[in-house]
Symmetry: C2
């Protein structure tokens, strides 16, 4: 299985696509290690948008800390179900609490988004693992706040919310912390970027660990 | 509920974002009716990528035929589960057969992708409705082939597969048919674009029908 392809035809398409992408972004990935490069290539593959090679930025400990967490089969927490459904090859748990009754209650009571409330809810469970945010800047802010207060065990954050309001600022703020993280600079981002990043890490783990 | 927002904070973000987008793409949506414009705005909202306003193209009957199908609570068939999970406000059925055992068998026997096999499988059920393709060009080709042979009841196609291999050609070919359709020109596309389009149509239906 390579990049989600499960048939010969799918495999051939994925290989050819990777070759095109490697050529398109080769100048942008100079200085990245092979695992980091794979993440960037996979993001460009999933969006057909080479600009992402210029927008992606990850902390130097992001891959290592994420792989450690995945190897321990820790949970992947996602902000919305689209991210959860895109992660198809993981043996550990993948959780999304956006439709959880308790989360809806927390959101209403505190007048916050459900995406932020889901982080508060997760902090009250035995959650330990990776956070993948493909949609809601408010989930990133809630996560940073809970980490600062030492109330949640997040090992790394895939922080790629999308939008013209708040997304860029939330990612910039995350990138300044010492939390292992990957972001996309500016308003662009989204669920395929979060999914591509996590799936690349899972594939790397299966290959090298 | 506006654009998936279910709290005051989420609503405010969505409204502000729409204002920014309207200003960014106003020259690109000249000549579109309000329902078509809403689709384009929502696609740009979900990607934070104004280029989509230049890439989206829909047949003149796309909105009308899609709304008719949705009003009749017909099924929405998606190529992958990420598209299915993004459609959160529909009363009708939303199906995705990519993991179906029979589909996997058809794919292996015919040496085709599972996304294409899922269309063959759907043609053997009582499926009738809208096809939303956010990932696999092969699903589009299979759909066009089955429609030509009069073997599947597809009322309209959201055809926005993504990728450097095959995606652009498949969309161009779809756009030349007389099937009611929306596409994104070139390699770009993806699940958020398919989801944004369907969710815009559902919201329009709830407002006007």
């Amino acid at each position: 299985m390579f990049m989600g392809a499960s048939t010969k035809q799918g495999y051939d398409i994925a290989i050819k696509s990777r070759e095109i992408i490697r050529d398109l972004i080769k100048d942008d990935v100079k200085g990245l290690n092979p695992y980091e490069t794979d993440i960037v290539e996979r993001i460009v593959h999933s969006t057909a948008d080479p600009e992402y090679a210029k927008l992606v930025s990850m902390s130097s400990d992001f891959v290592e800390e994420s792989l450690k967490s995945l190897k321990n089969n820790e949970t992947i927490l996602t902000d919305i179900n689209m991210v959860k459904s895109g992660i198809t090859q993981y043996d550990g748990e993948i959780d999304c609490y956006i439709k959880n009754e308790e989360v809806i209650k927390i959101a209403k009571e505190n007048k916050i988004t459900r995406a932020a409330a889901a982080l508060i809810y997760a902090s009250q469970t035995d959650f330990e693992g990776i956070l993948a945010v493909g949609n809601a800047p408010t989930a990133l802010y809630a996560a940073m706040d809970l980490i600062k207060k030492n109330e949640i065990k997040i090992k790394s954050i895939v922080g790629v919310p999308v939008g013209f309001v708040g997304a860029a600022d939330s990612k910039e703020e995350l990138h300044k912390t010492n939390i292992p993280n990957i972001i996309t600079k500016g308003p662009k981002g989204g669920t395929p970027i979060a999914v591509a990043c996590i799936n690349s890490l899972i594939q790397t783990m299966n290959k090298v660990l």
